[in-house]
């Protein structure tokens, strides 16, 4: 079945340094949508970025990611981390199979930014 791998469970950074959170995926379908959701403590997870276009950079709120179908990757990056970026980040994959749509989530990466 479909799967999403986030290799880092925890990333700790000093404010101002660049952020890169890894995400790779596996699916037999070519119509994959990739997402990054962000989850702040005691709040609802919400969509940060999404893409289905190969090799096209997508950006939102200072974060960016590029879907590379050749390597099945959708890494999340930011040039300069801020304290407010501390949260749990989920990479997710969706494909439409037989008219159904059920996103598959990675284990999540907890990002901690300190002064």
């Amino acid at each position: 079945g479909d799967s999403v791998t986030q290799t880092e469970g925890l990333v700790t950074l000093t404010e101002g340094l660049p952020v890169m959170l890894n995400c790779t995926y596996q699916t037999i379908y070519s119509n994959a949508f990739l997402f990054w959701y962000v989850h702040y403590l005691n709040e609802s997870p919400w969509l940060l970025l999404r893409s289905s276009t190969d090799n096209k950079r997508t950006e939102h709120q200072g974060f960016h990611a590029t879907l590379h179908k050749s390597s099945s990757s959708f890494h999340l990056q930011k040039s300069s981390a801020q304290l407010s970026d501390s949260a749990l980040y989920y990479c997710a994959l969706s494909v439409t199979s037989g008219g159904n749509y059920k996103p598959t989530f990675g284990k999540g990466t907890s990002l901690v930014v300190h002064p």
């Binding site: 997402f35 919400w46 969706s94 159904n100 996103p103």
Partner: protein, 113 residues
């Protein structure tokens, strides 16, 4: 932005009891989901629901689980009877037709003692 509300935020019950988790999805959304997250693990798909019917359920959706949305009210997840391994955070999500973004609630933390 659109909000999904989950009630209650935390529920503590004794093993063997019944529990109902309530979700108030975004008003014009048509598809509804439940995900289960055990502490320290990933969110895992339980079930999705459309037009009054279960579309797909995972192997985690045991026979003791059921979902419904009577008359457009809350989308509910019922567990009867509960087991210790049902302790987790349950996230509800909804989406509009022809849109692939899920809108999540803040989760209900279920503690089965």
């Amino acid at each position: 932005g659109p909000k999904v509300l989950q009630i209650p935020s935390h529920q503590i019950i004794d093993m063997g009891q019944m529990v109902t988790l309530n979700c108030d999805p975004v008003s014009n959304h048509l598809y509804f989901y439940w995900y289960k997250q055990i502490l320290g693990q990933q969110m895992e798909f339980l079930v999705n629901f459309y037009n009054g019917k279960v579309m797909e359920k995972s192997k985690l959706f045991k026979d003791q689980f059921s979902v419904e949305r009577p008359d457009g009210s809350y989308f509910t997840l019922k567990i009867q009877p509960t087991a210790l391994e049902d302790s987790a955070v349950y996230f509800c999500a909804s989406r509009w037709d022809c849109q692939n973004t899920l809108y999540f609630g803040a989760g209900t933390r279920l503690s089965v003692l």
